[in-house]
């Protein structure tokens, strides 16, 4: 949040009215920004009241109290989606961050600056491709048919004797999902750690060398502690976004793997736009409200943790 905790040394030379007048042009400049935020963020918040109604667009919403939530909590599908959301988001967060830290440490140790730059350019690349492209690429690469590179390779090496349907079977979908996420985003995840690493005073390394510390000891006692604050920051910031998982799961899922791939956002999507019958917007709003509240609680916990750990809130 804004820095409200700082001691306020306000020297009010002029009355409020004069100061407001002084800034009148700035208020005017803020109008477009405010208009966008109100229309696209705050008006939908008013729509949360539909969560307590039955709302089928053609008719006016009818108040039903907490019925939507009762229906929701009684559905096993809903709990599966909730569990999958947490599993996939937190799993990929820990996996991506862990590998990104190791990658950064190794990148940092690279002998040639040119090679380092080249490696960085390459590992950042997949982050900027869309999820549709990533899904398309891996759909072909992991295909069980003769066009799928990985299956053909494993068959030829004799590691498997029957092609695996990596994205089409419940057993392998989750691990495939994690691998694709690592491919796409881990490289980009190193950016923030590389910045933290280049800020470490080289004098400390020199002093350690003189004291006889080897590469491993330097990494263990200097580099990693220096990174720990950044690692925590990254984890906390991303934990706040855990509930929003949508696109990556949506483009990689298919009917055969829904028990593993259905997350809350995709559940809302299918219930509203692809349910076959007349969608009840009230019900899907209720699912969304539940999701938002869990998300907000996570943010507040993270904000509290953030204040404890690094002395200031998230934003």
């Amino acid at each position: 949040m804004e820095n409200t905790s700082a001691p306020k040394i306000e020297i009010r030379k002029k009355p409020l009215k004069t100061r407001i007048l002084k800034y009148k042009w700035f208020y005017l400049m803020f109008v477009p920004v405010l208009a966008f935020v109100i229309v696209f963020y705050y008006t939908p918040m008013v729509g949360i009241r539909y969560a307590f109604t039955s709302y089928k667009l053609i008719r006016d919403p009818v108040f039903v109290g907490l019925k939507n939530f009762q229906r929701l909590f009684a559905l096993p599908n809903f709990w599966t989606a909730f569990y999958n959301t947490l599993k996939l988001s937190i799993g990929k967060l820990l996996l991506n961050t862990g590998i990104a830290v190791i990658l950064s440490l190794l990148l940092h140790e690279m002998a040639s600056l040119k090679a380092k730059k080249l490696a960085q350019t390459i590992v950042y690349l997949p982050h900027f491709l869309s999820w549709v492209v990533a899904a398309s690429v891996f759909q072909m690469l992991l295909s069980p048919t003769t066009t799928g590179l990985l299956n053909q390779l494993l068959l030829k090496l004799g590691i498997i004797n029957k092609a695996i349907y990596f994205l089409g079977s419940s057993e392998s979908w989750t691990s495939s999902y994690f691998v694709i996420n690592v491919w796409k985003d881990t490289g980009w995840g190193t950016v923030i750690f590389m910045a933290a690493l280049s800020a470490i005073d080289p004098g400390i390394y020199e002093a350690a060398s003189i004291d006889g510390a080897g590469r491993w000891k330097k990494m263990r006692y200097i580099t990693l502690p220096a990174l720990s604050a950044t690692i925590l920051t990254v984890l906390i910031l991303n934990l706040a976004k855990v509930m929003n998982l949508f696109e990556s799961a949506f483009v990689l899922q298919n009917d055969a793997v829904m028990d593993k791939a259905q997350v809350l956002q995709t559940y809302i999507y299918y219930q509203t736009f692809n349910s076959g019958g007349i969608p009840d917007y009230g019900y899907t709003t209720a699912v969304g409200l539940f999701k938002s509240i869990v998300g907000m609680v996570l943010v507040l916990i993270c904000n509290y943790a953030s204040k404890k750990v690094r002395g200031r809130g998230i934003v």
């Binding site: 100061r19 008006t43 549709v132 759909q139 003769t146 053909q152 800020a199 080289p202």
Partner: protein
Amino acid sequence: MKNNFEAANPANQRHAGKKIGVFHIINGLFFLVFCFLILLPLWKVLVDSFDLTTGYGMKLFPEKFGIAGYTSVFTNKSLYIPLINSVITTVSGTMIGLLLSTLGAYVLIQEDMPGRNMLAFVLLFTMIFNGGMIPTYIVLRKLGLTNTLWSVILLPAINVYNLVLMRNFFEGIPKSLFESATLDGCTPMQTFIRIVLPLSKAALASIGLLFAVAYWNDYTNYKLYITKETLYNFQMKLRSIMMGSDLPQANNGAVENTVQNAAVIVAIIPFMILYPILQRYFVTGINMGAVKE
């Protein structure tokens, strides 16, 4: 920004005088393999897009080279409109996005402005809590924006995260410049256009790129708000090609897979060409967020 920083930082120069040991060789080999694994999936798509045989399997070079996959893609008129839609939304969305981000950021750095903290809170609160997918859909529908390109242009244009990045950058501009501009008789708008924007070219470039990539890659907003096929962007089109429901007619000996691979390459090639030149701006952008640390 990062490049200068790195060059100036002795931490990176310490490698220079060091002799290259076994560790460095293993480390180098590791990155060789890692980069190979990152590029392999994309290389495979490129190879297969030029291969006219049916079962490519393990080949890392085309067996029967031909460009029929690409002629199938480019002679297919149903792909022109999605490409045009992608360009329209990317260009106009990026402009509006930059306008809102710079205006908002400029107002938020006015320290003495009454109500500044409240305005900042109004923006930041949206990062914590939002109405959710369905209420947002209902609002856009009631405004008559669904099934128009306005929905996919205007909604992503307000991006609080990018606005905060921009504010962090603006905070680095010396306050004295604003004061002297005011003394010279500049109105706030004139200061904004003549002082702030010209000094922020790097920030405009990197945040503009963040917007452009997001617009070009957008799929979720189209999926939610657009059902009319004539308004699809290239990502939507690519998706339906991959799902097999909308495959362009394969011709000149191209098989289905070749066409799909060619379509993926067409979707990423503009970016792949620009990427090596633009890469440093992306890194600048993310480091701007870290400036406040």
